[in-house]
Amino acid sequence: MSRAPSGASFQRKLTWTFLIVGVIPLLICLLLLLNIFRLSLVRSDRSSAESQLSALEGSLSALLSSCDGVLSDLSGQRLVADAMAQEGKSTLVYNALYNTAAPYLKEADFSLYDASGALLYTTGRGDGGKPLPVNWGLLWAARQKGNTVFRAVSPYDAPTRGAMELCRAITLEGQTVGYAVARLSEDHLTQLFTGRYTSGSNVLLLDPFWDEVYSSPAIRETSLALQLRSQLLEGRSLGAGGEEAYSLLREERSGFLLILQRPRPMAGWVSRLFSLAATMSVLLCLTLSLAAALWFSRQLFRPIRSLNDAMAAVEEGDLEVRMEVTGTDELSQLSGRFNRMTQRLGENLEDSLLQQRELSAAQVRMMQAQLNPHFLYNTLDTLKWLGKIHDAPQVSTISADLAHILRQSISGGPFVPLSQELLLLEKYVEIQKIRFPGKFTYTIRAEEDLKQALVPRLMLQPLVENAIIHGFEDGSHGTVTVSVRRAGEDMVLTVTDDGCGMSPESRKRFLSRDPAASGHHLGLYNVDAILRLHYGPDRGLRLLSHPGDRGTCIQAILPIREEEGGEAL
């Protein structure tokens, strides 16, 4: 386990989470705002452009309609038509001209040309009396159309003449006798358009073929009309990608086109400002997210790391390690629990050590009880033969029994079949009968199918010895009964005597399970300890009170286990 990567990954996850949670909503918000902002700007710009354009178109249309009216009026007057063919100028015609054109004298100049294109009468200053070509341009078109025609004044023809002309042929009995012309100069149009568009915008008036008729003063030198015309012919959108936006409106009477040029609503600096603000807020958000992620991961990671360290120490076997509990949050609770856990672990370890030590002590005591076996065998063998030689059968019997007991007690595993234990008990009882002739009788009742069940070695002999030695120490006679019976899954071993019984002090000492205090009953204590170690603390010996308050009854209840395949338990 490596600590750094796990920490880093934890931190990274936290950082990413913070970033995503912080930045993405901000981005979406910014984009939405930007789009809404743009949309509203574009809309308001478009509607303002449209209203400006329609105002411009309205005024132009009104003026053209008025001029058209004057021209058709003039061409319809018999006086005028008659005067066209006459030599010399008539004040009557001038009167008619001025009267007809009176309301529009400031908005346009009105002139009358004769059939050869020579200028006869004009309300303007005139242009030096240069005749207009009859078979070219304006007059030709007026004659062809028979109605009012609208033309841009070609800059090649006469640079001073004006921007736009309206012309209507004057006919008399089917013959064209002259032409009525209304002329709008650049000044006239400037005067007409001024104040009808905002200061940043520009107006361009184009003829139906997109040639410039008029442009507002700011763009007069830019040949914008030419650019727009070539854009139109190449099929490109007007103003695509440029700094300016364009709106168009056609004046229906003349077919001329009004173009309003204005700065793009989302001009460069607004865009840049917005981008700057957006970038700043995103950066701020990034920084804050990172800082928060760092702070949180530190807050979480420090206690986790110390917990981690502490656990590593426990892993190494140090159960003394303790966490410092500083707060009340979940991590502090975790630290507290860890502390309690290690404490409990230490206690458990101590308990099991103690148990182990006790077991060892019991075994040592058992060993001490076993003398040097070879010496004893040899001696007992000698005794047996001496008894035979000297015809003392009791000596030889005791010697043979004792040798058997010794052999049984020091060879083999900790468990033996019940039958073996019972045989050993018989030998022991035989010895004791010789020692204390007539003092007790011994009976044994064991169920046959339990004979092969395993019991701890030498567990019955100390119980029987206790019954013989202590049960009849007052010199009385009695019976010692050993019974083994089945009780469900368990077998019950009972050793009963009808002797003097245990004194209450002895009973108390035994129940205290203190080896030092056991005194004369050390055998009982040992058996009890062995049973507990092998079968659990509740499987110790039980002292039962004998009926009639006489004698002692000691019982052990063991689970039935049989030897399997020669292997002990």
């Binding site: 990274r12 950082t15 970033l19 930045v23 981005l27 910014l30 984009l31 930007l34 789009n35 743009r38 949309l39 574009v42 478009r46 070509p133 078979n135 070219w136 341009g137 030709w140 078109a141 033309r151 070609s154 800059p155 090649y156 023809d157 073929f209 040639d211 070539s230 139109l232 012919l233 099929g235 959108s237 007007l238 103003g239 695509a240 936006a245 364009y246 709106s247 168009l248 086109l257 793009r264 609503p265 989302m266 981008s275 957006a278 970038t279 995103v282 990034l286």
Partner: protein
Amino acid sequence: MKKSMFCLLGALALLLSGCTPQEELPSLDGLSPSPEERLTVYTSHKEEVYGPIVKEFEERTGIWVEVVTGGTNELLERIHDEAGEPQCDVMFGGGAESLQLFEDCFEPYTCSDADQLKPGLRREGDPWTPFSSLPVVLIYNTRLVSSGELTGWADLLSPRWKGRIAFADPAVSGSSYTAAVTLMSCLPGDPWDILARFQEALGGNILSDSGDVTAAVDSGRCSVGITLEETALKNLAQGANIAIVYPIEGTSNLPDGTALVKGAPHPGNAKAFLEFVQSPDVQTLVVSQFARRSVRTDVADRQDLPSAGAFPVISYDVTWAAENKEDFLFRWAQSLEEVVP
């Protein structure tokens, strides 16, 4: 960590820049002319010439004309290069010789009232139709040369004005080449011999631009010069100190032309344009506005000019001039080196 941060920032920038709403541009539906209403004209004329004609053509026919301007040779080369997929409908302008050189690029077209053309201007099958005729004339400085002193081409070869003749380099100027060929054709004798004598008379004084000729004569740097009548008349109208002489041996009256491009995208409109520039109305304009001579018999030239019959006009061999141009320029450059060591 850092890398992924950069990725994130990049994605962010992309988002910010990419998701901007498209502004609606004004719709051009119904404003832009359909292909049937279009015509593309390459012209080497000055704007004062093509401007009114193109405008009037548009007004009368409703056809939108797209004008591309440039030098004659530049435009002809371009038409030649575009031969596979012609962009241009009409070549408007350029001397008859130049147009003849690029015969392959053009479709001969005879206007409906070709019978009204002045005789000798166009042969049937020529790839162009004449627009205006431009006689080559001699000019002199009225202060340096007295009236009657300069009468014709022969006077130029005399040592009298050696080194004082204003003449543009024929290698550069098409009209100058026409003038040189005219000189060679008008005088008796071997043309190459006449060229050599002319070069001797020039004495190495060659102007780099045909526009400089009148200025050189007007300013007195040169006494006499060779130029087109149109140029001389324009300068005269501006008060230049010059007079015009129509050579007694005769002169060329070569037209400049209009030509229909072979495989033109809008052939109908192109033919309409060709008809239009040869119409009496335009020819009247040519006479009244441009100091040029009409190509029509029914349109009278300016009253103050000698009528076409008043001075002898030679028949200029356009084919010979076109075929021998390389040879001419080679000899020209060679003898120049001899004259100017």
